[in-house]
Symmetry: C2
């Protein structure tokens, strides 16, 4: 159904989400891929940094721009385990990223709820890659939280 490489890179994003899980962060992970190479990886880090804007995507974008030494990511793909929020979609728009692939949908905060073209017109979107796995880690995190 999906490109093998999409699943491969989403697994890498899931590894980042697991690092977030282990650090007691809401487990969302992201990687940025350029010419079949991972140039940035990050997980949600809002607790440790005490910064609600430190979403996996924001950190990955900044890291990717630093890696390539340029401000635009037209030839790159963002893989992220959860659908980006409005802030992250707005950031993606500024980077002009070529493609966004996400796993789980975010019914509450996902950018696709908004009936307005937030992303750059050239940005392609694929959703639902390893969606079950991407959702599972979030569900597990919140179910453990509820126990305490």
């Amino acid at each position: 159904m999906f490109d093998t490489s999409d699943e491969y890179y989403m697994m890498e994003a899931l590894q980042e989400a697991q690092k977030g899980f282990d650090a007691d962060e809401i487990p969302v992970g992201a990687v940025v891929v350029c010419q079949d190479r991972i140039i940035a990886r990050a997980y949600n880090n809002t607790e440790q940094l005490r910064d609600v804007t430190a979403h996996a995507e924001m950190l990955a974008f900044t890291s990717a721009m630093a890696t390539i030494g340029g401000k635009y990511l037209q030839n790159c793909t963002l893989y992220v385990t959860l659908e980006p929020c409005v802030m992250c979609a707005g950031a993606a728009s500024w980077t002009q990223i070529g493609r966004i692939v996400y796993g789980a949908s975010d019914e509450k905060k996902g950018f696709s709820k908004i009936d307005y073209p937030i992303l750059h017109p050239k940005t392609k979107v694929t959703k639902g890659v390893l969606a079950t796995e991407c959702e599972s880690i979030l569900k597990e995190f919140f179910s453990l939280k509820r126990k305490y």
Copy 2:
């Protein structure tokens, strides 16, 4: 027409915009005010950092959260010379900031173009404070750019 303090703090944001101008950045400045004290100040820094997400508001939010050591800015006001974009409005939403005051409107990229409540429901917005001055510095910047 406006609170004197709004004009006072917008002048501070304009000083930040001027620093941006002097650094050859698109001159947008911001300050975050909490209990009548400026707890963060920043100007757009996308060129120097080579990071298109380094808008004045994003930098000011992160700085403000670091200053207060907490993730939420409910008791704070953001003063920014230009209407926030969708990314920055999305970030503002996560911070739950109490109030946003902006100067010039952004007809192309401003968040208010979108017919969807991006901001936190409790965030109040005041627009047009020192709008002429906030616009002027942007116009001057772009008019100088066109000469070269």
